[in-house]
Symmetry: none
Amino acid sequence: MKPVTIYDTTLRDGTQGEGFQLSMLDKLRIAKRLDEFGVDYIEGGWPGSNPKDVEFFQEAKKLELKYAKLAAFGSTRRADLKVEDDPQVRLLIEAETPVVTIFGKSWELHVTEVLRTTAEENQAMIRDTVEYLVSKGREVVYDAEHFFDGYKDSPEHAIATLKAAAEGGAAVLVLCDTNGGTLPSEVMEISAAVKDAIPGTPFGIHTHNDCELGVANAIAAVRAGGVQVQGTINGYGERTGNCNLTSVIPILQLKMGIKVIDDLSALQTLSYFVDDVSNNPHFARAPFIGRTAFAHKGGMHVNAVQKIARSYEHIEPGLVGNTQQILVSELSGQSNILIKAEQLGMKLDKGSEEAKNVLGRVKELENEGYSFEAAGGSLELLIRKELGQHVKPFDLKEFHTSYRLYRDGHQPVCEATVKVHVGEESHYTVAEGNGVVNALDKALRKALLPFYPEIEDVSLSDYKVRIIDGHDATAAKTRVLVVSTDGEKSWGTIGVSENIIEASWIAIVDSIDLFLQRRRG
Amino acid sequence: MKPVTIYDTTLRDGTQGEGFQLSMLDKLRIAKRLDEFGVDYIEGGWPGSNPKDVEFFQEAKKLELKYAKLAAFGSTRRADLKVEDDPQVRLLIEAETPVVTIFGKSWELHVTEVLRTTAEENQAMIRDTVEYLVSKGREVVYDAEHFFDGYKDSPEHAIATLKAAAEGGAAVLVLCDTNGGTLPSEVMEISAAVKDAIPGTPFGIHTHNDCELGVANAIAAVRAGGVQVQGTINGYGERTGNCNLTSVIPILQLKMGIKVIDDLSALQTLSYFVDDVSNNPHFARAPFIGRTAFAHKGGMHVNAVQKIARSYEHIEPGLVGNTQQILVSELSGQSNILIKAEQLGMKLDKGSEEAKNVLGRVKELENEGYSFEAAGGSLELLIRKELGQHVKPFDLKEFHTSYRLYRDGHQPVCEATVKVHVGEESHYTVAEGNGVVNALDKALRKALLPFYPEIEDVSLSDYKVRIIDGHDATAAKTRVLVVSTDGEKSWGTIGVSENIIEASWIAIVDSIDLFLQRRRG
């Protein structure tokens, strides 16, 4: 048993944040990565709040998580229903997760003014719901919403709600600073009081960053004896976000000596992955994993750091997968790429000619604005090409797109033409679409289908665009990330160009190319 | 005498951050704003490190600060020079500021390995320099660099350096967590030890955010008796940045009851001002002042917040100049739009026909994927149209874009044609660009310029694309956000469509249209 477990709620509380939207496929991809990274719990969603989350738990059963336990989130039963008749609770059972997390009200204000019920009924709701879920074989995490505000208002009332959850059989009582207004000294004091009042059930902590104290409050609770830390990758979440796991994990492990994750060096890639999948920009100043977290600018600092790194670095950057930066140019992590090749099942030896060439090519492309964090498909293709495991499936001669918009009743007309050679044969096809990229995709498939009927199975499941440098406005570079699927697997490919059409084309071609290579074996 | 003073180092330590560059004029503008806001000290720069800072202090004399004291920053004398002969110290005197801040070495590692001198000489350097500056009538702030790392390595050595500064006559001894690796519990403990060891001189705190604990560490030191907090606006600074004053000030004042600023409601505008002057994007999730700091998305939260605001808000947002936002996703806030109209100087009465129509139109557009959070320009245009304050500047008949990519050496060819009516005249123009949107923008300007020569002043300064729903891949909706500027003001406009070209077109047309409406008055 670990002394402190990590409970990730990126997929649930994270998605309450403005600008953090995830499709179901995004959620599945992130869940898989979180499991590989080694968090203990993954909260996947709230089936009672939207149909997408119901569907997520159906699909998630196929994920075969290696390590993490999946948790479904929901609330206590309604005041006017028996727990077994509450449809929201039924959806929690139907999610078929080993863990169910339910939240209940700790603050009298919420009980009387928001729920409009009594303290006694509220405690019964908590006790009944926990008990029922435990009877169905679930490990139950109890999230005590507004715990600190509730405790400050009435310690007796707040403690009574926790006792109800403990009596119901909750595995852990999670103290939530839902509004994010509590100070570390208060968290420390109140956590200690909880430990005294309810010695038989361990407690955890769930904080928000409204005072820029989300991480500090979490570690204060751990110092007071807390055994579970809830948070999100990169601190995404409602308002100012949740406790940032990307900071709190390395603090626990590297500063407080509490082992929570086997290999912390995957932290930076995980952080980038979540940014990319959610189509959010990387926050360069982010602690530990930010692009500038170990970047030295001041002349005196640079000088000292070259003599002794720890003179201006609080940890060795490689411990979290980051690298020291002296100059503006970015250094591509060599070992990262070797590890990725291995994960893809391809042998790339350290120091070999092929490895050097792949690294050189990756650096070149990164300079042009590529980023392979969420585009493993393009990286795989690049490595295959270098290892001679690639047969070019077709040759592009030319493509053309045209878009005409009328203001007098006509529908817009959008078409694309593609000229390709497949083997000895030349093909010239045209297709219409509801956008130029869509038309281009269709025209290419039309040209290739007679030769490669298997591409019928491939479809684009996601298409994301980011402008890399906004300074030149429409002349800036465009990065297109495409996620494709054949119904079983999905893979990401990337294209970068000064214009979106070419960038999209590159990503689409890579996607189909990789699929064909894999089918060849 | 205030119990805790605020010492701003945005203009010095802030500019050590990557991407945070300020011209001398920028620095003067920010200094003036900081003074108006009411910080106690403004550290303007390090005259010994660059000529721009020397010049800044010359110009700053004309600022006539009402409240804040200006500080020049520098280091102790060199090991091989008498203090009065050290050119870097001379520049500090010549800056003619009431306050001089010097930093010295606390960590033996730095004394022996970086400075390459002895502990005794290091202490003499500190004592001499402080004494000399005091003799010239300066209030001297002593920054003890790497104090916590130094103390953990050797408490005796670290305390001896502070004693040297105190003996020299320093007004305050500032304990610096230069590398940002210290935990709040350590800050608390070590600060208390300093207070015991040197009771005669007060201490202050200077932290960095490398563990996301910059703010937590500062308040830990204040709890231990610290009287000065150093930091930067929005937390700018080297690596992960400095202690964020924008968070620590409201915590001190609103949570800990320590009055530090007269009118805190100017905090948000100050934060935006520093972002804008330094040309950095606003961080939406920033505590207290961020755009989403009081934004509610979850349906349950929105419902509760409308009953009782404090149910999900840790402070009243107006206290720091922020406002509650009910996010567009669930519920479009009617009052939000009325407030926005008022901010734009347009009269829109609650319950009026116009207000209802604007609200209806906004909701309709939001359903289609529009979001007006960052597109105030499009919202203004919409309100103007509803209020009859809009004259259509031109009529689009048709546009066409064409993009052809060759694989045999040719450059890609990209062109756009535009047919518009302006008044009675019809115009048909064509332009090339490095992308279809760029070509379209050029063709439209070419058509309009003869009629509206003022559009020469308008340029696109940012262009962002987001795919709203990734499920249908390239057939999904595209949201384009354009930021335009006329050199003085900037405004955001938005377009949504199933294809990126039309979405871009809508945003560009809105941008030019609004500019022309505003010029009409």
